[in-house]
Subunit: 215 residues, 2 copies
C-alpha cells in the first residue's frame, strides 16, 4: 500500500537522515509541540494517538516501513496534531521538515506516491470515524482485531503478531478497559477468538467479520 512511498524514501534521504532508537514507552512526538520533521520506522511499533483531557484514542499503529509525523504537513499546521509513543524498542530515522519539503518538491514521483498514501490514510480514517460513531463496542473490537491481523499478521503459533496491552487495545477501540475486557470474554465464549496469555488468536474470522458488517 504505502510501499512505494517507503522505497522512494530510502532512496531520497540517504544522506540526510538521523537514525536512532526509541525505548519501549518512550514518547517520540508530543501533541501540540512545534513540527520539526517526519519519522520513518525501520523496525518496531509506534502508536499514534490523540488526547482529550485524560482520555486517549489511538489513531493508528506505525510498524516497520511506516511513516509518522507527516500529519505536521499541510497548509495551516505548525504543531503536531498527534502524539507518538514507542510500544516496543523501535529503530527510526528522522528527517527535518525543510529537507523533507524540498525533497518533495524535487522528486515528483515521491510526492505523487505520498499523495496516494494520504488518500489511503484519509479513507481509513473516515472509515474509523464511521465505526466510532455508528458501531457498538463489540463490533469495533472485531474491526480492530481484523485490522491488526491485516497489519501485523500472525506469528508461528497462529496468534496476532504483536504485543499490545489491554489498555492500548481499549484506546484503539475507543472504549474503556473494562468494556473491552467484557467484550473480549464474550468473543471468547462465542469461540470467535481465543487467548493464551497476552496473545490473541482469531478462530472464526468469518463470524468476526460478520460482526463488522452493516445492519
Amino acid at each position: 500500500m504505502c510501499r512505494l512511498v517507503v522505497e522512494d524514501w530510502k532512496l531520497v534521504i540517504d544522506h540526510h537522515r538521523k537514525n536512532f532508537v526509541a525505548k519501549k514507552g518512550e514518547q517520540i512526538i508530543k501533541e501540540g509541540d512545534p513540527v520539526t520533521g517526519v519519522y520513518f520506522v525501520y523496525q518496531g511499533n509506534v502508536k499514534v494517538h490523540k488526547h482529550w483531557g485524560d482520555k486517549e484514542l489511538i489513531v493508528r499503529f506505525a510498524n516497520s516501513g511506516k511513516i509518522f509525523g507527516h500529519r505536521g504537513l499541510g497548509t495551516n499546521s505548525s504543531v503536531y496534531p498527534i502524539s507518538a509513543t514507542a510500544l516496543e524498542e523501535t529503530s527510526l530515522c528522522f528527517i527535518e521538515m525543510d529537507f523533507f519539503m524540498s525533497t518533495l518538491k524535487m522528486n515528483h514521483d515521491f510526492a505523487f506516491n505520498l499523495m496516494l498514501f494520504y488518500a489511503d490514510e484519509l479513507q481509513e480514517s473516515e472509515k474509523k470515524m464511521r465505526d466510532l460513531a455508528l458501531m457498538s463496542v463489540k463490533s469495533r473490537l472485531a474491526v480492530a482485531l481484523l485490522q491488526l491481523k491485516g497489519q501485523f499478521g500472525l506469528n508461528s503459533s497462529g496468534h496476532l503478531n504483536l504485543e499490545l496491552s489491554k489498555q492500548d487495545l481499549a484506546a484503539y477501540t475507543g472504549a474503556t478497559y473494562e468494556t473491552v475486557f467484557r467484550m473480549t470474554t464474550e468473543l471468547v465464549n462465542e469461540k470467535l477468538i481465543s487467548l493464551s496469555g497476552k496473545q490473541i488468536r482469531i478462530i472464526n474470522e468469518e463470524k468476526l467479520r460478520f460482526l463488522t458488517e452493516e445492519s
Copy 2:
C-alpha cells in the same frame, strides 16, 4: 486552505470538464459504486456521508470551491467509500478519473497542492475521530456549530449562513435527532446560541468554545 488546489483546478481542466446542476436532495455519488471521476463545486452545498445499516454519518460538507469524490483515489480503491448528496441546488463540474490522474502526473504543482489538501483533510478527519470517541454529544454539537461558522460564515443577520435540517445536523454530530434537539435547547437556555426558525445564531462563542476544550 484548499484555495490553491481550486485555482489550479480551474486552469487545468478548462477543456475537459462537464458542468451540470444537481437538484436539492439529489444523490451525486452512491457509496460502493465504481469510481468514475471527481467533482468540483462551483456553487451550492453537498454533504459527504457514510452509512452503516440504516444509520448515517456526515463526514464533511463541500461548498463552493471544494472538491469531492477524491476519496476514490488511492492505491487500492475502485469504489467510492462515501456518498455525496446535494443539500441545495448545486452547480458542479465532473472530471473523469483517467484525465484527472494524468493531469496530476503532468502538473506537479497541482499534485503537490492536492497532497497538502489531503494532509489537511486527514488532520480534520482525525480530529473528528477523536471528538466522536471522547466527547459528549453536547461538546460535539458545539464543535459542529463552530466548524460550520468557520466554513460557511454568517449572513447579514448574523446567523450561520447555511440551511441545514436537524436530521443532517444530527448526522454530522454523530448522534440522534432527539438528542441533538435536547442539547440544542440546553445551549439556547444557557444563552450560548439562539434560534430563529431554522436559522442558528452563535451568541457566546467563547463559552461554546470552552465546551470543546479538554478536561
